[in-house]
């Protein structure tokens, strides 16, 4: 019988599988870390976009859309920013580290335009007062 026809020994197979498992494990760990880093980058990018959105809406004095007619049983509904002048927009974390709201400010009221929650494991970790 020729030497190559003998197949592989158990030791050879075990070593091969170990090397493959090691490479797969390293690859998975690396991918996982890349994925988590990318989530942070995306969250920061989304926050940046919303900050610019707030700035732009304030700059353009953009009146937020009123509630739909089905909401008109509520007090102050469609007239929110018509009767109370718009003074600006605010990105408000309201004490939360993971959720913020974009609000139109029509003192003494505010209207939430959108609310965003960071993906799991990501949070606001600081900010210096001006």
């Amino acid at each position: 019988m020729k030497a190559w026809a003998r197949g592989f020994t158990l030791i050879e197979l075990l070593i091969s599988f170990s090397v493959v498992a090691l490479i797969a494990g390293l690859g998975f760990a690396s991918f996982n870390q890349f994925n988590r880093r990318q989530q942070v980058v995306n969250a920061a990018q989304a926050l940046l976009t919303d900050l610019r959105l707030a700035q732009s809406k304030a700059q353009n004095m953009e009146i937020p859309p009123g509630p739909t007619s089905t909401d008109c049983s509520k007090p102050l509904c469609a007239t929110l920013c018509q009767t109370n002048p718009l003074v600006g927009y605010q990105l408000d974390f309201a004490g939360s580290l993971t959720t913020y709201s974009l609000k139109a400010l029509c003192p003494p009221l505010s209207l939430v335009v959108k609310t965003v929650t960071f993906p799991s494991g990501i949070q606001k970790s600081g900010g210096l007062p001006r």
């Binding site: 880093r37 900050l51 718009l86 949070q123």
Partner: protein, 46 residues
């Protein structure tokens, strides 16, 4: 962070911040806000 609409431009309210830091245990990103209202994404910090 409040962007107030004023005649002739937009400014930050006094309670505004100079930056916001967002991150997890492996990475943080800083968003810088200049006094002039310029908003930019900072470098990665492990």
């Amino acid at each position: 962070m409040t962007f107030k609409s004023l005649r002739g431009g937009v400014t930050f309210a006094p309670e505004g911040v100079t930056n916001v830091v967002v991150g997890s245990t492996i990475l943080t990103k800083t968003i810088n806000i200049s006094a002039g209202g310029e908003i930019s994404l900072g470098d990665d910090q492990p």
